[in-house]
Symmetry: C2
Subunit: 313 residues, 2 copies
Amino acid sequence: MKVGLDIMGGDYAPESTVKGAILAKQENPKIEIVLLGDEEIVRATLTENGGSVDDFTLVHCSQEVTMHDHPTRFLAQKPDSGIAKGFKLLKSGEIDALASAGNTGAMWVGSLYTVNAIAGIIRPCITSILPKLDGGQGVILDVGANADCKADVLYQFGILGSIYAKEVYGIENPRVGLLNIGEEEEKGNLLSQAAHELMKGTNDFNFVGNIEGRDLFSDESDVVVCDGFTGNVVLKQAEAVYTIHKKRKIEDEYFNRFNYELYGGTPVLGVNGNVIIGHGISSPKAIKNMIFHAADVIAADLPGKIKKALNNE
Amino acid sequence: MKVGLDIMGGDYAPESTVKGAILAKQENPKIEIVLLGDEEIVRATLTENGGSVDDFTLVHCSQEVTMHDHPTRFLAQKPDSGIAKGFKLLKSGEIDALASAGNTGAMWVGSLYTVNAIAGIIRPCITSILPKLDGGQGVILDVGANADCKADVLYQFGILGSIYAKEVYGIENPRVGLLNIGEEEEKGNLLSQAAHELMKGTNDFNFVGNIEGRDLFSDESDVVVCDGFTGNVVLKQAEAVYTIHKKRKIEDEYFNRFNYELYGGTPVLGVNGNVIIGHGISSPKAIKNMIFHAADVIAADLPGKIKKALNNE
């Protein structure tokens, strides 16, 4: 399997990305890593950090997508950037996944414009991890790609999240909870009430009812479904708690699992290809884990599983 | 000042409520506490816990609002309950505040049906505390009373929150942030985009722009405004983090400030009276602090300040 890595993506690129690629290759030589970036920079950074060009495939890209590039314009304006070229290679099957810790908007829009949403998927989405107190972990979606959602979109998130939890995290028959502000089914805002109505009694996934903010980290669900606005606030609040722990030098095994570096990145769920978006502040360790997560996602064949689930409906 | 306390409100009532009243009276004898409940139960519980009937005013209530009572029906069905009678006394001015850790829906609807929303207030709301890393504290509103909000409602929350932060917590010219999923003004869902547009350049409060989930506990704002759905998820997620700390025996000065017992209760903002809602699981300490918070809220004259602010518009 070939993982394409955008060398210029992330606040600490290209050092962090190249170092991360070297770490990943050392730990798992079987993963073919395709480095997308200016060849001169890639070679120099590899050499500086004790890496060997022979361990990687290099694809020269003369342009770079920055945080200032507009997500809907970079494909036309910077066709020779790592991200744009990466999407081309992903679409043609020359790489099996594209990973970047760079411009999230560009990665998102690039997914929708190149490999496209899977037929029948109303809105693809992005996810995050919810470390569970009992040692397991859950996923939450959407965490920011879709600020406004309708009930049928949340319903599909239930399908997408179930497939992701099962195929990538090995959770059998994942329990899907709807994030809400009360346990009773009539509670909530108009969206969650309508979504509950759609989910109740479904055979498409294992719906376990409403989940409150206090249940996010408990063992009541494996998949938490919400609109991207709420999910993004939840995710960033959890990140804030982790940051405060580090600042206050609180060392705790459970809260250490909130370290984004351990997960590396999140796939765009619901598109015809494996696209992994990393955190802007990614360290080499985070990049390494993003590459490993890309490999897991490739092995899981999420697009194939999603298509199959939609056809079974 | 007279604080009416619903003796039967809360999971551990009447022990917790009566004990809390005794503690409050011991610590601050100046607060007159009016105990609303079955006189026999109140007398017995006072005696059992070393309290004296002479320290309190007793108002006998033959009925009790439970968690199963419907919020919109209890006023008609249980007019002699502590909450219903309390609202009557509040409206007539015989008590200056009504406090209960019981049926939140009943307290909320009771506020709207008896003392009523202040003229010009579209939707009253409830708040919670955000402990700030630098030692201060902020407030967030709404945290659950209004699951669906429009932009003008969020705008008014900016006014209500500013008055509360200033008059009760002594924060001069409180900085109001709009909870959103990006710092840039065009970010967000339709609601937050519209609210940002309304708030930008306002003279009614000190708007400082968008606040992300990661900024909830930092010193960038004193008042965080959001719809009640998002705010409720934020509040309960913060409660979950505190609960996990206790479970894992992590003792930290900062995170200990998330203990709801320290705050006791939250006022219903935007109604013609001082109504304080406590946490269902309130301990005696929480009840004591709810009574103290009621006293602070009475002293602040929030309804008067809110009316003044609306007339100045």
